[in-house]
Structure formats: C-alpha cells, structure tokens
C-alpha cells in the first residue's frame, strides 16, 4: 500500500528486468522479464506500447504490440518493420537487431523507492 508521500526513483529498465531479442523477417521481438515478482506491477504500468514506441523513435517501428505473461512475470514486445527489412535486406552491421534489447533496457522507469531491494545489478 502506497501513500501519497511515498518516494519514487527513476531508474533504467535494466534495474527492473532482463531482456533478449529475436527476429523474424522485418519483425523484432524483445522479452522483458522481471528480476523479481514484486516488480511486475510497475513494469505493466510503465513499459507500455506507447513508452516503447517513444524509446524506439530512432527506428520508427510501424507497430508495437505488447503481450503479457503474468505467470512468468514476463512480457513480449513485438515491433513490426523495425529491422530495415531484416537480416537479408538491412544495411546495419547488426541486421538481426540483436542489440535492440539494450535500447529497450535504457527506458527510464519511475519506481516506488521501497522496491529498490528487488533491483537487478550491483547494490549501491
């Protein structure tokens, strides 16, 4: 239960989740998997299709679709037409888009401070 005076902090998504990219044709799928179940609600609230589309402005996906898998505390983000045609057509060094999980993991997320013990990565 949060009160109106609960403090929040803003952290990159990589403190809340890990991620992997896959590709098929011109479509990329990026998983977002919570480090801990306690982080799931804030991920659902903030890692929205609109937030992902803004984060990927450099790549201009035609569509962003989010699928939720609550039993796994995971979501699957599918970005259409984001790979310049895909592995056979793109001019990118990383034509699969393998690195794109780390573009998503930079997304700023505002989190109640009391969830900090569940963050991934080094403790302060």
């Amino acid at each position: 239960m949060t009160s109106a005076t609960d403090s929040t902090i803003t952290v990159p998504l990589y403190r809340l989740a890990h991620s992997r990219t896959g590709d098929k044709g011109n479509r990329s799928n990026i998983s977002v998997i919570a480090w801990h179940p306690a982080l799931w609600d804030v991920l659902v609230e903030q890692v929205t299709e609109a937030a992902v589309a803004r984060q990927f402005a450099l790549r201009q996906p035609r569509q962003v679709t989010r699928y939720l898998l609550p039993q796994l505390q995971a979501m699957n983000i599918v970005l259409d037409d984001v790979l310049d045609g895909g592995v056979n057509d793109a001019l990118n060094l990383d034509s699969h888009g393998k690195a794109l999980s780390y573009l998503l993991l930079d997304l700023p997320v505002t989190v109640p401070a009391h969830l900090a013990p569940y963050f991934g990565g080094p403790t302060a």
Binding site: R20, S31, R59, A90
Partner: protein, 452 residues
Amino acid sequence: MANNAKLLVGCAAGFSGDRTDAALPVVQALIASGQPAALIFETLAERTLALAQLARRTDPDAGYEPLLADLLRPVFALCLAHGVRIVSNFGAANPHGAARRIHALAAELGLSRPRIAVLQGDDLSGPEHRALLQGALGDAMPTEPIVSANAYIGAQAIADALRAGADIVVCGRVADPSLVLGPALAHYGWALDDWDRLARATMAGHLLECGAQVTGGYFADPGYKDVPGLARLGYPIAEIDADGHCTITKPPGTGGCITECTVKEQLLYELHDPAAYLTPDVVADITQARVQAVGADAVRLTGVQGHARPATLKVNVCFESGWFAEGEISYAGARAGARARLAGEVLRERLAGLGPLRIDLIGVTSIFGDDTSRWLDAPTSDSGDAQDVRLRVALQHRDRASAQRLLREVTALYTCGPAGGGGVRTAMRPRLGTVSCLVPRDAVAVRFEMVD
C-alpha cells in the same frame, strides 16, 4: 526404444557457425543416464539454406553443412554403440550428399555402416513447383532468379524414419522444434492430433534448438547476469516425460548455467503471440506456462497447451538481389568524431546517385541507428568527446560495378579524406533476398528414404 522410460534429447549445435566441440559431454551424459536418448544438431538458419544452394551450383556434391564431419566425428562411434539416435537438418540443400559424407565418415572411423534416413519433400525449387509458388506469392513472386524454395516440414516423417530403424535422420528444411518432437513421437507413440502433448514437446524443442542460448549463452551481462565458464558452456539436454513436459539440464562439469532466467529468455525468443506459436505440427500456447528451478542447473517447463496444427506450411523463397558493399575507416584522438563525420559527408557526395548510403559512426552511434541514418542529421546529434571512432558506410546495388564503387571511394580516403584516417577495410558479397508464403499441406509430398 522402450516406451516406459523417459526420453532424453540433447542438442549439440544451435546454428551453422556454432561451436563444434559441444557434443561429447552431452552424449556422455545421455549414455550415463541409461535412458533412451537422441541427439540433435540444428544448423540451418534462413539464409544458410540459400547459401548452401549456391554452393551446390558450383559443386554438385556440396550443399550440406560444411562442418558436418567436424560436428559428428567426436561422438559418432559412441552414438552408434549406445543407440543414441541422431536427428539433424545438416542436410541443408543436399541431404543425399550429407548421407554419403556420413557413410564415408563411418568407414574412415572403422564403424559398421549406419542406417541413414534422408527426408525429402521440403525442396520446392524445381520447375514442377513453380506454379504452386506463383499462386501462393502472387505479386510478391520475385522477378529475379530464385536460388532456393523450401517448405518447413514437421516431425511426422522424422518419427516414421526413427520407427523404421534409422540411426541417423538427415533433413533439409524442417521446423527446428520438430527435430525434438520427432524423437518424442517415435518414443511415446502419441497421436498426431494429441495437441497438448505435441505442443509441450515442441516447446522442449524450442528451448533446445538454439543450443547454448538456454544454458548461459546470449545471456551473460557482468554484474547483472553472471555466467560461469562461458568458454566451456555445456549444451542442453531435455528430459521429456510421457505427457510432453520437460526438464532442461546440462552435462555435469561443464560451464554455463540453467536458471529460470535463461529458460524464460529462450522460451520467448523469436515468439510473437504467446497464445499461438505456429509450427507444422501444432499451435503451441504458452500463456499458462510455468518455469520452475527443480535443482542446480535444472529447470522444468509445465503448463504448455496445444491447438490444432495449421492447414498450411510456410515456404521460404530466396532469390538473387544484387550486391552488398561496406567499408570502414578509423579516426582516433582529438576531434575523432568530427573527422569521421566529415569523411561520411565526403562519401555521401562521392556516391550520390547510387541509392541510399548508410553511415555509421562506430563509437558514437551505429547499430541502434536505422538505414536512413536519420540520427546523423538530427540537430542534437553530436559526436562529442569520442576519442576512437570508426566510420562505416554500406549500400546495396543490383549492379556489381556500382556496388564496388563504394569500396574504391572508402579506400581513396587514405589520401583524399580527413587527417589521421587509417585501418580501411572493405567487403562485398552477393545479396540474397527472401520472401515467404503459405502452401496447402497436401501440396508438399514429404517422405523419407533409407540410404544404404
């Protein structure tokens, strides 16, 4: 195979280009278990088959996985001696050629002649299939020369070949999870419309099909996801029970790790709608799936459901689509970014009229950018204080000589470009485009043939 013991399936390769020394610990673990077992090698990505088809043009005996003997040699004798069946798509564009190579390898190693089954029917590149492809592709039918056309076939023929006594099943294009479902079908005798069981074993295949990606590969991130022994990664083994549920482990004494995190990442890899993962064999639904660690480096997958398989098969068509050219040059020290950016502008002017030129500043922005390089022209774009910047440019063109101009212009930057530019590298290769379509299942005649 006894059908009251649980089946083990190991994977020793996840793509063409994978390590070739993963199989031995996997096979030793399979044998030590005393359980019925199979070993898969997955070596056929989308592009790989088209490249194999090109290889076959210049050498009719080629077109199968070039590293086939390297993959098989360390474990061939052990597998034959202990009844570990081998299933692989390393047949690629020449499954019969692969079978001949395997027979030769057996002779070289002094082994008795193995029973090899060759799967056929996936190759739709012949003239007799052209009308089928044209009908399925419509306006998307390539006008350029077609290099390959292959249907993704499923597990049924693999299971039939194993039941007929094959020691090794050599496939061309199959759906990757079918490499695991085939042995499961043969072992348990499930009906082909037992959708839940087929879906569960299919997802076991999906966890295995990329090799080390479930055992700590494509995962390590120091301080966030630490993986011991990345240089000695153990490859995965799935124990599949009579209901199709699986537990993923790896051989003892190997590096890597299997955790709920590694399994969740691989579970969702290359998936779209988790309620509908389509394969030739079934539509798998992982919306209720659960992943649970059941021991050290042991994770169980349950909750997978299945629905009726699609009425169609996916076909990949590859065609010649010109040339791809790229070139790079490095700048370091003060104003490296500005000098690299200037070199990019020079090339844009020298190569004007050849079509879109991709410009990367490696060390500033490269792989996150798109092919229009829109970030370069944005008002906020700034090379900042980057002290080591590698300019990379790339284009594609129908015409070889035109594509080659990029290589020459990048090379000329040594004397014509900004100060301190060094380390030019250039490369060109033929480009293969792909397009996909769906064909009715009964348009594809799948069968296996025992090769002696």
